[in-house]
Amino acid sequence: MNKLTSYSIKEIHKSFRDKLLTPTSFIDLCIQRAKQTKELNAFIILTDEIAENHAIESEKRIYIEKKSLPLDGITVAIKDNFCTKNINTTCASNMLKNFVPTYNATVYSRLLDSGACLIGKSNLDEFAMGSGTVDSIFGPTRNPWCSGEDWRISGGSSGGSAVAVATGACVAGIGSDTGGSTRNPAALCGVVGLKPTYGLVSRYGLIPLVNSMDVPGILARNIDDLTMIFNCVAGPDILDSTTLKKQFKPVKIDDNVDLSEIKIGIPSEYYCEGMSEDVLDVWRSVTDLLEKEKCHVRTVSLPHTSVSISVYSILNQCEVASNMARYDGLEYGLRAAEDYSTEELYASTRSEGFNNVVRSRIFAGNYFLLARNYEKYFLKALKLRRLIADDFNKVFNGENSVDLLLTPTTLSEAPLYKDFTSTHNRDQCASQDYCTQPANMAGIPAISIPIRLSKNNMPLSIQLMGPFLSEELLLNVAKKIESLVDFPSLKM
């Protein structure tokens, strides 16, 4: 059914009400689509039985009780680093291949409480370390826009969720975003991807990569759907001490936003080496589009942008080394057969359980955290991080301030798998994350919006960034841009 890749939540709910579709039949269509697109390898696990049960519950509420929930019958895919009770949560790693959590991540339980139906757990780079969804023990995920013999990557690390949404196997996907892991695959797969303000969405149950930067991310095919999902999951959580305590006010999308009041900044430092002509062209055309809508567009400067990648690299590796210290095979997860001594057991378990990327980050992180190195690297990185955050603060709150920033999301369209894997993971991240990870440094919200297709028929997207807690402005402006560009949906 072709409409699957373009159906919005509003349309689906209307179809439910008009009985053109029922939740259970809709779930079946989605599961079928997921099975049809198996070679894309978007899912690690398909939870069809669970989805069907959820759908039955939704039907009861809609048709019998007449008390429907906001996401009744809406299919979702959850990245496999979010804990789902009684469902394997692997982080695409041998270490947690058979790990079954006994609790739900807050994001997931809030979706369930809103009536959503879980289609499956989606593929990712092992422990979310990567920007291609190529480093998973379950194999890489292919981009649905180019999945043949010479296929292109889906982006990462939330590639599975992006592909699931793009192909219509589900309506929305949950990813995580530490350096761009939601926005990157959104851009390469032609869907919208939101990285919310740090502290707005609970991380309880999200197996962490970098605790001080991680945020649960949302992927959908249009802004209205994304906003609905966002409104259901955002808000304080006592189980996560880093969530903001302020009560959450749901975002309202105004269908006719007046852009003449908005000031958009174009940061000059985001013109970086390696950026493709296509991407530069899209950036320019969106700028023109906004100017046509009477938007005030200006060049601004974020002077510390170039150090962002190094800072991110150090802080990421340090937190990884710390967060991975718990994987010793004693309480859960992989346990090596070695039982000669506890030390041997730890070493073998951790060598077997982690891939190269994870292990190299642990080594680097341990090195940076040594007492004699702490000041030289970690502390310095923290100071530079503050400078990066201050850059954004000045641009949003200082003299000649702007409301939002417009930049590309990735440096190019989705690369060919063979080209992408010819470079080292570190270099891949360094180049692909250039435009996305400063937002994680500063904790500000950012969204990736697909604009048009490249000459290779691959999606090209741009990114909007806003100050802390500016999701309402961000999503409304994104909605306007979306309506102006009319990005085509994927033809299956």
Partner: protein, 520 residues
């Protein structure tokens, strides 16, 4: 001649050198320096960062939340009660409570540390710069008590680890995570103590204080309070040299013994020309020696890193406003109970008790409680009441291998006894016997027991005179000696009198009467 003078000069030089060498060897004495680190388990219902039950002796691995087992994706949530107790303890020890404190991760791999790191407050602790004042007095060691104090460098909140048991025979290790994540405060003292007795006295006072505050049970035998001692030797005026850390001390006396042994061990090494290794040693309480614990000379790098999942802890230092998320320090200060030192001073002042009595009473909170209730009746002499509790009651309890905390007697029973004793209706001996009977727990009152056993003191003068006459008649030799001037013999006669009357006479009356009769 010349030759002789030369030699003499040489001899003189040589002997001078010899003397110099000799005296420098004796003059420089090694002085011991001791600094303590105390870990106290906070007496809260749940753990520091999780809602699991914080208890001692629960069924193995039954008080473990997902967070305590380091299940992926779980996050710490700070228990406010722990912060309150930490602040209360800091205030009681005259520390400066820091307005902002932060949490750190201290990394090391061990089976009883599921996350591979402990959450602690190394860099910015809850409180700093305090002092503990205490008296040092060990009978047999010190002639009289003296005052001492030790400065507190910092007080920090941190997680306890689980427990691991190693079964060498079956070559396996067992891990119990009940204690993993339990709340601790670590008190870091400056190295300003000199020996084991001072350290033991400090610990004793600290235990009393935390018990008084309700912050910690102070039960060292349960591991609720753990003491690590840092010991080093140096010459006066010179900087401190290599120190060793002694762990695994399980009692207040152990503190004294372990440190005393370690000082001697280090002294003999240094005097023999050797050097001290910077190592961790364990106190073996049975063999009464310290043994090396971990790898020698391997310094652990804990790779400290700020805990990213916990925002900085802010407390309100200025106002008494109650807020769920920002604890008011002035409000806690208002709740401060009377501290042991204040109690001692009050006892000495209000009840005119001798200092040693005051110290002993404060050392036994149960007895202190009895004392304060019993002496509400002004007629009862405080010193005599104190003596009854500290000497008689405690002695009888100890004979039955009980201590004051497990004393089943009620304050009413003790009040009856006190009155009987002070009214001279019973002797001290009878008093002890009655306590013993009461401990049997038959439910009878003190009076019932005494009446039943016929233990009341005889005060009837006629009866007393009769007994006196009997003694005089039966001991003519002694009587003769007394009459001849040997007044010392009177004591012997009194002794015989009390023995033959089974201690049932009021001895003050009996003594009077005997003297009268002897004069005749």
């Amino acid at each position: 001649m010349k030759h002789y003078i030369l030699s003499k000069r040489l001899l003189y030089k040589y002997s001078k050198i010899l003397r110099r060498g000799f005296s420098s060897h004796c003059k420089k004495e090694w002085q011991s320096v001791v600094g303590l680190e105390v870990h106290a388990q906070l007496n809260t219902e749940s753990k520091l960062f999780s809602g699991a039950e914080n208890t001692f002796g629960g069924l193995v691995n039954n008080c473990v939340s997902l967070f305590d087992a380091a299940i992926p994706g779980t996050l710490p949530v700070l228990n406010g009660k722990c912060v309150e107790l930490g602040i209360l303890t800091a205030l009681a020890l005259s520390c400066k409570v820091n307005e902002v404190s932060t949490f750190d991760r201290k990394h090391y791999f061990y089976a009883d540390l599921p996350a591979g790191y402990q959450i602690t407050q190394q860099r910015s602790p809850l409180a700093s710069d305090g002092i503990i004042n205490f008296q040092v007095f060990t009978p047999g060691v010190h002639k009289k008590p003296y005052n001492k104090s030790s400065k507190i460098k910092q007080i920090q909140l941190e997680q306890d680890s689980g427990k691991s048991l190693h079964d060498a025979e079956l070559k396996r290790s067992l891990v119990d995570l009940n204690r993993a994540g339990a709340p601790l405060i670590e008190l870091v003292f400056e190295p300003d103590l000199e020996d084991g007795e001072e350290a033991a006295a400090l610990v004793k006072e600290l235990v009393l204080i935390v018990q008084r505050l309700g912050a910690c049970t102070g039960r060292m035998e349960e591991g609720a309070l753990r003491v690590d001692a840092n010991v080093s030797m140096h010459h006066a005026g010179e900087p401190l040299s290599t120190r060793t850390e002694i762990k695994n001390i399980g009692s207040v006396r152990g503190v004294a013994g372990a440190i005393r042994h370690e000082i001697e061990r280090q002294r003999s090494i240094l005097e023999g020309g050797g050097r001290i290794l910077n190592e961790t040693r364990s106190w073996d309480a049975t063999a009464k020696i310290t043994v090396p614990m971990r790898d020698k000379e391997v310094v652990q790098d804990y790779r400290f890193m700020p805990e990213p999942n916990l925002p900085p802890l802010r407390v309100n230092l200025k106002t008494k406003e109650y807020s769920h998320d920002v604890i008011s320090v002035p409000l806690i200060k208002d709740k401060m109970p009377e501290l042991p030192e204040e109690s001692r001073t009050k006892l000495i002042k209000n009840y005119e008790l001798r200092p040693e009595i005051a110290v002993q009473l404060v050392n036994e909170p149960v007895l202190l409680d009895f004392f304060q209730t019993i002496t509400l009746v002004k007629a009862r002499n405080p010193t005599k009441v104190a003596n009854l509790l500290l000497n008689d009651l405690l002695t009888v309890l100890n004979k039955r291998k009980l201590d004051a905390t497990s004393c089943p007697l009620t304050v009413n029973q003790l009040e009856d006894l006190v009155d009987l004793l002070l009214d001279k209706k019973i002797s001290l001996d009878v008093c002890r016997k009655t306590i013993d009977e009461l401990l049997e727990g038959t439910g009878s009152s003190a009076m019932d027991i005494i009446k039943h056993k016929g233990w009341l003191l005889i005060t009837d003068e006629a009866e007393i005179v009769k007994s006196c006459i009997k003694v005089i008649e039966n001991n003519p030799k002694l009587v003769k000696q007394y009459k001849e001037g040997k007044t010392k013999v009177f004591k012997a006669l009194l002794g015989i009198l009390s023995k033959t009357t089974d201690n049932k006479l009021d001895m003050s009356i009996a003594s009077e009467k005997l003297e009268e009769l002897l004069k005749k």
